[in-house]
Structures are given as structure tokens and as C-alpha cells.
Symmetry: C2
Subunit: 702 residues, 2 copies
Amino acid sequence: MNGAALEFLHAPRLVAIVGASDNPDKIGGRPIRYMRDFGFTGTVLPVNPARREIQGLPAYRDLAELPGVPDVAVIAVPGQAAVDAVAACASMGVKGCVIMASGFGETPDPEGQRRQREMLANARAADMRLVGPNSQGLANFATGAVLGFSTMFIEQPPQDGPIAVISQSGAMSSVPYGLLRRRGLGVRYVHATGNDADLGVGELTEAVLEDGDIRLVLLYLEDIRDPGPLERAGQLALERQVPIVALVGGRSAEGRRAALSHTGALASERRVVDAFLERCGIRQARYTPDLVAAAELYLQNWQSHGRRLAVVSNSGAVCVLGADAATDNGLELARFTDVTTQALTQALPAFATKANPVDVTAALLTDSSLFGKVLPVLGADEGVDACLIGIPVSGRGYDVERIAADAAAFAFADDKPVVVSTPQPDVAAEFRRSGLVVFDEEASALAALAQLLSHHEQMARARSYQPRPARGSAPTPAVGRPLSEWRALQLLRGAGIATVDAILCTTADEAADAFARLGGGPVAIKGCPAEATHKSELGLVRLNVSTAACAATAARELLAVMADLQLTADGVLVAPMVRSRIEALVGAHVDAVFGPVVLIGAGGRYVEVTDDVQVLLPPFDAEHALQAIDRLGIAPLLAGVRGELPVDVDAWAAAAARLGQLMLANDRIISVDINPLMLGERAEPGAGTGAIAVDAVVVVSE
Amino acid sequence: MNGAALEFLHAPRLVAIVGASDNPDKIGGRPIRYMRDFGFTGTVLPVNPARREIQGLPAYRDLAELPGVPDVAVIAVPGQAAVDAVAACASMGVKGCVIMASGFGETPDPEGQRRQREMLANARAADMRLVGPNSQGLANFATGAVLGFSTMFIEQPPQDGPIAVISQSGAMSSVPYGLLRRRGLGVRYVHATGNDADLGVGELTEAVLEDGDIRLVLLYLEDIRDPGPLERAGQLALERQVPIVALVGGRSAEGRRAALSHTGALASERRVVDAFLERCGIRQARYTPDLVAAAELYLQNWQSHGRRLAVVSNSGAVCVLGADAATDNGLELARFTDVTTQALTQALPAFATKANPVDVTAALLTDSSLFGKVLPVLGADEGVDACLIGIPVSGRGYDVERIAADAAAFAFADDKPVVVSTPQPDVAAEFRRSGLVVFDEEASALAALAQLLSHHEQMARARSYQPRPARGSAPTPAVGRPLSEWRALQLLRGAGIATVDAILCTTADEAADAFARLGGGPVAIKGCPAEATHKSELGLVRLNVSTAACAATAARELLAVMADLQLTADGVLVAPMVRSRIEALVGAHVDAVFGPVVLIGAGGRYVEVTDDVQVLLPPFDAEHALQAIDRLGIAPLLAGVRGELPVDVDAWAAAAARLGQLMLANDRIISVDINPLMLGERAEPGAGTGAIAVDAVVVVSE
């Protein structure tokens, strides 16, 4: 969708308030108050059958009485009255409604659910858009169009700025807004969508990204019912280099249960949501503070040079704690050049530390020029990508203004990110006046810096993905049947995935022949029923069969077992025993919301317990799969330990990428489970012994 | 040591300031200013050869001129002058000196190190105690004895209270002090010890715990050179139910490098430090904010009832995020009784959530009595141990005073912990006025609550340990030699640890006999040199030997190999092949600072890479070892997966506890490495197939 198509929400000329209140602190009174106070230049039309004037404006008995067709109507009446108001708006050509009342689709109440469906049907029929129900409303502080009732707009008065907050929750639009405003940052859009019956967070994100002034978007989500709009918004944000940070509530089972009764959120598999946001370039925040923590850093428009950090402080402890926090956040401490070390030796007292971290010591109390001497030296060192200036104690006795000016001169001499930490509000204010980005302490400063750098890296990765093909609207078929192992292996082989060299035999003699054709090594012989996934449990697997005669006997027995069990069977499979250094798994299934997903993980018997799995949404390259493999818990074992060769991760990654292609190409496949995928070793990249699927369960739709 | 013995530091009558300055913002001027401003009732004696009066006080040319012997002298002069002043103090009978200058033992400079040694020798000879050098000094705001120069005492004026901050770093005494004071909490002791040449953090912690008013102790450490005082302090704190929280700088390699140049900290193995603090009952903070985050909660003196949490909010999102954060922090959401659910249904609007978390919804804006109706219902539910009240948005239109009063009435009706979250400072202030503990948002509130509960649990665990025996002062011998495998296994067996039933043979015939005595199963045959730890690499291991003749041959060959290699040997070991479900490791060594430590972990080939190890300091019980095993990464596999029996963890735990006893009983043992310890299965507790050491390397001192 085109964001400009939502102009009626962001810059309406006529706004009706259905259920308008003369009390500016009631839900139906707040939007009127806000539009008056925050400079709305359009016309507000209060609708209330009981009053002729509301908050100084002429009021109308009902929608029919209005002097014109509103662009948008705020529906501040509850229950069936809201449904009726939406219907009236639809019939008179209103472009959009914002419905504030609760008690609709978010509740288990069938009547509420029905009312929401009725609302939506009326709107759709008239091509009218809905926000809500259960919405705290929308706000655009560029136009003063405040179609919402957040108390936070009184508590922290608005100021227009380059940030948009879009949330399924009212509170989680107000809280980030309030935190940002308290730090003096301007916020333009504060949207709380509620039940997302029609317009959701994704479409509104697309819309605000059409606004070229927006440079940071913060989201709060409890579910993603239609990933398309958010995916397009992510794409647009990457094009415009606008970072999007999202807090997704309901990570835990308890949280999901709560979300179900909050916005009626449906549980998506969490790691699928994570994989989706990762490839969209949308950074996830874990907690509310993380959502806003790096806002000032994002707005600096600093580019990432790298992760080599310099730390300077007047406290050795902050040097130590800064080094610890840098390590925690994946930053490394820059190694200074000899030139830098010599210059620091000149600048600093004898007992100060000239290595990184640089401890100028408490001598700063007697010489406030020390930072001014040290920082240009660090700026000149090409090995320094970013800097933390930690000042845990200063104030009286220190020339804080000078220290701040020196730090600012350094920070703006080039575009390397610089973060400052100080726990003292007065000192922080002085540094902020100099334009610097200030945090309470070193760990939060470095977490925010690392977030900036990681997000830049994530956005670069996101640009490297091919777009996902649009999915048809066909729901995922619920009923499927497993292919026989033989057919499953054939399917995978056809998709370019290496499989064990199995030979299908229908008689004992054929099995003996197959044994010979496979070179006479020990073989595995498995019964191959047309539809069965638990061959071991049925006694249909014989391993290490080492003579042709034994092979014939085993085949005869297995064919007899399957006949006894009345299993339709393709025959038996005779396959060489495949050894591996590591057993991996590759799998895929179709997620009801997000479409095909591929799983890459540690294989073997304990997969459910160890749960060492990464998820990717196809299409993706082998390179993306390698990155996912590198995030696995077993990654440290893959490079080889104590003289072992590395494992052939390239073959593994290629198999995963091909499985992704297969899932996109063949929409009859419901799921694929390759476990184990036997990983060989790799003398050098490209010359490995491969990754071989020795068994596979493939479920296809009926 | 007896804390009262440090009374001269906490309540001196006469205080000399050597290097006193008339400028109250110089290091030598600050203590004078502070003692005047903060109500010190003793006498301050400034010493300065150049002035007769300093900050309005009569000044003295040198120590000899003083009108009496000071209890304590603050040494604010640098370098050799400080050494000389300490010597003069020692000779005149001063009880203690606080040395502020840097450039001593914390630097690589040999002259600085020598000066520190000289200072210490002079002090020891006169039975005088030292704080520092490189110390920001000590402060006791009960007596006004401020023997330090922290700028933070001006920036955040002191108020006496029940908290002590003791730190090796000046900044990390000032920062927690400042953070606590900004939150209105009173702090009595603010001690920064610097180089800990004599008195260290441990002894000062013992001393402040002698003060019955102290109810919370916060520590910052970069190293622990002598664990004894801190261990005694921990014991005292447990007896007095005073929580101690410690931030230990230098968790990372980079952090340790920085700590070395800050306080000259020696690197202790981090997990040994962790194990030490765990058994002392001292809770570790990860970052500076964590050090002070739960201070108000600790001071409430709430007892822990359990981890079943109720969440109430006017925001569904806070319910969701609260549930997520509860899960992250190991809290569970209470399941309400039917009585509770019915009462909530009466109290709340139809669309509000009556399950836990309880979402009273935005209806709070129109009805500020909702919390007052809901909270007593939760208070009456026996299944609720603690409560989060989350109010992300309120203010104008809400009766905040009433909500706060309702919340306080609930919180103080019984002693269940209650935490409140609100991001709005004005709202937070209202709740604080009601006596409630308030956080910015739900995640930090629950992290602090969980810290309180976890720390109570840790203190209970700490009480369950037998005390560690005092160690002799003998340093750990650096030179050791490995015992032969035979002697190593004998030693372990003697300590009650099950070992493989190996038979030592010196001839091929004996090996054939041993084969027969072991029942004729397949055996392992290993060369057993008197001192060698890499038998596999030397080709001295033969596995799965399955006939007596082969056993004889193998023995003959191995004896020949050892003779060729000119290895003195006990002979060869013939042992049954032992199968296991899981290979574990148990090991022990003597830490130079902390004494014997025991390691428990996942065994096998990849131990260095997987690094799945827990550390315990003996003595400990099998129960403690079981807790450690439960913290391992492989713990989920131990209970048995897909119908497997559980692994015999009891036998493993018992072996670990016995190894701890062995290390305490036999101080000739430098290290023990049992890998693998073969774990069998366990049909039920006490009826397992055990944990069997099949190989062991034991290194003993020469």
C-alpha cells in the first residue's frame, strides 16, 4: 500500500469526534483538547446528541447533521453504538475511523468478536479504513492531528521531531513517547493501533516512512498477522536508511497467554518471528528501555567504521568495567599505535595508564585539560573506530564546561561514534549542551553503541537477501501424508541435496545385488513403507549388514515384517553406512503466517532437549546459512578441536539454501525433516566430504 | 579481626591531615572541609610546613609539632613524602594512616612498588594500620569522620543511613553512593581502599558489619588477594541477615588487563571467584546499576515466601511484558483460586482480564478505585507470593494519590514483596511518598524483585555449607609430578571414589590371567608409566581386547614400547571396558588464592571447547554438587530423553564431594583430573549403576 493513501489520518481537514465530551480529560474529550492545544489547523466536529457546544466548539447531534463529510472520525462511544457509528461513517464517505472502545476482537466474548467483524465488513464495503477497535488512537504532531487520548501528551508535552512510535498497545505508544520527550527528543507520530482489525502496525509504518523527516521508527507488537506490510516497511526503511527497532511482547509462554487476552494476539513460533525481523533489518529490543536507549545515537547519523573501541576515563574502575561491558557487547578494545602511546605518555601523569583503556586518573581534579590533551591523540589513531568517555565523578573542582567542550570537539572532528557516561545529572546536562550523547554509566553507553553498530550490520545483511515471493492466500493445508523414505530422498536429490546412495529393492535377491553394487562394505537395510515415519520403532532398520547373504536375509525379513504389519511398501532400501564427524539437522515447514521456514541445527537423538536450532526464511544464500550455523551452540566444535579437520559446513549451508528453494518451488510440501544430515570433514573450503542426508521425512499435502 | 579494632578509623578523636590545603577543593583540603561541614566532633589537625592556618583551623608545620598523637592521619602528600609521613606516624604511635597518593603498588614502576613495601614495613613494625595507598579515603557519616576527598559528597550531600559502600576504587565508592543518595537513601560508610596494601575491602566489611545499624553492604572489588577476611565478613553478614552485593570488575580478559594497571589486581580464575562469593552468600552484580537496583527492596526487610507473582496493570502491554520479564527472571505467574477470579469478575469491567496478569484496562482513567478493588483480592489469595503493580500511564485525569494509597495499604497489609513500576517521575514520587518501592518499568522492577528472592535463597544455601578450614600460609608448590595411573586410581579409590576394576600386571602372563579374572569380557590394556599423562599419544592404549591371548600380546607389546621409550613403568593395567550413557568430568586443583577447588562438568574430548563446568570450593555435600550439576549445560540430558533412564547423578555428586574431602585432607595433591567419569543409569535414586573413574591424572608436589 502507498503511505500517502493514509494522508487522511495524518493530515485530515475535517475530524469528527463521535461521543465528544466537554470534559477534556474524558476519552471523548481528550482529542478535542489536544487538537486545540497542539496546533491542529483543520476543523474539529464534536458529535454528541446531548450538547450544542463542546469545549467551546459547536457540537452536532449526530453524524447526519455535520456540515461536511469528515476525512476521519474518532469513535469514542462503546459497544454497538461504535458499530453503528462506523456504519454511518461508511455510508457517508468518511475515509477512516479510529475506534477507541475496548470489548471487541481482543476478548473471548463472541458478541464482541461479532461486532468487530460487523464493523470491518461495513468499512470494507465502503472502502473506508479502520484503526482499532481498542485503539488509543493516532497522533501527528507536525499537523496537530491528534486522534487519540493518551494522558502522556499532557504529562510530557509534545514537540515535533524525527521519530515515529507505532504500537499495538496504547501504553506502549505512550511510554516510549514519554521517555523520549523526557530526554528532550522530538517525536512526530505516536500511533496506537489496538486490535489491528484493518490497518495495522505494518501499514502505518509504511505510511510514516513516506515522511522524509522520519529518521527513527520504534514499534511495539504483540503479533504479526500479515507480515506483508511490515516486510514492505522494512524494505522502505532499508532504502531510506531509517532504522526500525521493535519490542515484541509475548516472548514467553506466560507473555503469549497475556497477549492473547490483550490484543487477541495469535502465537507465532517465536524464532520464526525473530528470523522474519532479522531479515527485514528490524532490530529487536528486549525490554522497554532498550527500545529507546540508542535513540540519540541513531539520530547522530554516525556511520559504523568497526568495533574497535577506545575507552578514556578519570577512573580506573570505569576502565575495567568499560572493558568488561565492551566484551559483553561484542566490542573489542583498540590496540594503540606506538605513536599514540608516545603521545599519551607526553600528555599524562606518570602513574596514568597509556594503554587502552586510558585512565587519566583522579589527576583530572587538578588538571581539567587532560581530556583535551588525550582525545585528539585517540582521534588520530586509525585503529580507533569509536570511543567511550567515562566520567563517573566530577563537578565541583572540575572545569566540566571545558571537559565537555573538549569532548565535543573530539566527537565532531570526524564521524566516529562517541558515547559519554556520567551518573551526575548536572554533568550530563553540560555534555548534552555540547551536543554529545550521554548515558548514566558505561555499560548502558556501550550497550547502546553496540546496538547501533549491530543494527547497521543487520541492515547490511538485510539488504543482501533476495526478496521473498508474495504468497498466495491459500491457507496452509492442515492434512498431509508422509512420503516413503525412498520418495523423500528422491525429492531431495532432485533439489540438489546430497543423499545417501540408497538402492530400492523389492526382493531379497535384489538386496544381495545392491550389496555388491555398493562395493561390499557394510550397509544399512531399511524397510520402506509408503507412509511411515517411525521405522526404528517398528523394527524396520538393520545397520552394519556386512555380507551379501546377510543382506538378502535382512531384506527378506523386513519385507515379511511389513507384510505382517499390512504396510503398503515401496520395498527395502539398501544403503552404504555413512560415517560423520557431526550429525546435523536441516528441516523446513510452512508457518501459517510467515510461509516457508528452514531450520538448521544440531542433529541426533536429543534435538528437542538441546534445541540448538536457527531459523531462516527462504530464499537465502549459503552465506546466510553459514551465518546461522555460526550462531549455533555447537559452532565451536565445527572448526575442529585438537587437530581435527573442520567440518564441511559449506555443504551443510548449501543443503539448507537448496531446501529453502525447494520449499518455495513446491507448495505441496508441508514439512521436511532431515535428521541426521551427516557432516564430513573439509580439508579446505570447497573440498569437503560433504553433507549427506541419510534419512528424511517429507510430508506433503493430500 | 575484630571490627571494633578499627574504631580509630570510624570514630577518631584526633585526625591529622598531612599535606593539608587551604583550598577546600584540593585533595588535601577536602577532608577538612568535609569534617567541618558534615558534623565531625573530633579535632582536625592540618599539617603544612608553609601555613599557620588552614580553612580557619590552626595548622602545624610537621607531625612532631602536633599537640597530641592523632588516632589517624590522612596522608595527602605524594611519593617519598608519603612514605616519610607514614614512617613518622608509625614512630609516634598513630593507629592508622589513609594514604591518598597514587603511583605505588598499582603501577609497574619498581620505585613505586618499593615505596609501598617500605610504607607497609614501617606500619607493620609499629602495629599501625594502613588504608591505601591510591585510596580516595574513608567516610563515616554517623560521626562525620570523612577521611576522603570524593567530589560526590558535594554533588550529593550525605545523609546517614543503613547502607555501607566499600570499594577498591574511589569512583566505584562515589558512584553507588551518589545513585543511592539521589534516590533519597541514607548511606553511612563510603570507603575506597585503593591498593589494599594492608587493610582491604574484606576487613573493612567485617568492621562495618560490627555496626548494628548497617542493613545493606555494597562492594566493588577488582581482586581478592586474601579471601579470609571477606569469608569471615560473609559469615557475619549471614548471622546478622545483612545482604552483601558485590560488583567484581575484570570479568573479561580486557577487564582484567585494565584492572592490573588500576589496582595491580592479580587475575584469579573467574569461576573460582564466582564459586567463592556464592558460598559466602555474597550476591554478584553484573553492572553498576545492578549494584544499587534492589537497595530499597533489601531495606524493606521483606521475607521471601516464594516466586509466585501477581501482576496488575492498567495496560495489557505491561501485563504481557511483565509476564515475559517474570519468566526471564525465574518468577512464575500465580494461578488464582476460583474465589479470586470470582471476586475480580465482580470488581472489574467486563472486558478486563480476570486471570493473572490482571489488566484493569484504560478504564482506570474513568475509575481510579479499580486498584483499590483488585489488590485486596490478590492479597487474600494464598497462592500469591509477591506482586507487581505496573502503571505505565497515569497523571492528569487519574486520582494518583488514591491509587498510591490503595497500593500502599495492600503492600503493608502483610509482608509480601510489592514492586511498582511507572516511567513518570511525578507519579513515582507519589508512590514513594506512600512508602512503596518504585521502578521505571516492569522489567527492572522484576529483576530487582528476583534479585531479592534469589539472594535470600543464596544466603540460605550459604548457611548450609560447612566452613572452610583455615589454610596454612604455605604457598602452592609450583613443581609437581604426575602419579602413575595405577597409583592415581588407588588414591581415588582410597578416598571412596569408584574406579574401574583395573589389575596391574608386569608380565604378559599376568595380563592373560587378569583377562580371565575379569570374566573374559573385552578389556582395555594400558601401559602404566610412572609419570606420563599422554598415554594415547604414546600409543599405550589398546581398547576392546577380547581374548586372553590378545591380552598377553598387547601387554608384551606395551611393555616393550615403554622400555623402548625408556619410561619407568609400574607395568600394564588390564581393566574391563566400561560403557556409559554420559561421560562426565570431575577435577580439582589448588588455587593460589582460594585453595582447593573442585570442578564438575561435561566430560569427553571437547571439554576445553564446550567449557561446561561448574566450580565448588570444598568442603561441600553431595547436595551442593547436585545443585552444581543442575546448572550445567548438559543438565537437560541427565534426566533421560525419550524413555531413557536418568543418569546416576547421585554417584557423580558423591564422587565430587569425596574429591573435595580428599583435597582438604591431602595437601600434597596439586591437581586431579578424572575425565571421563563414566556415568551409568539410575532406575531410582540410590539404585544406580554409579559413576566410575576409568582414568585419572593426579599431580602431587615433589
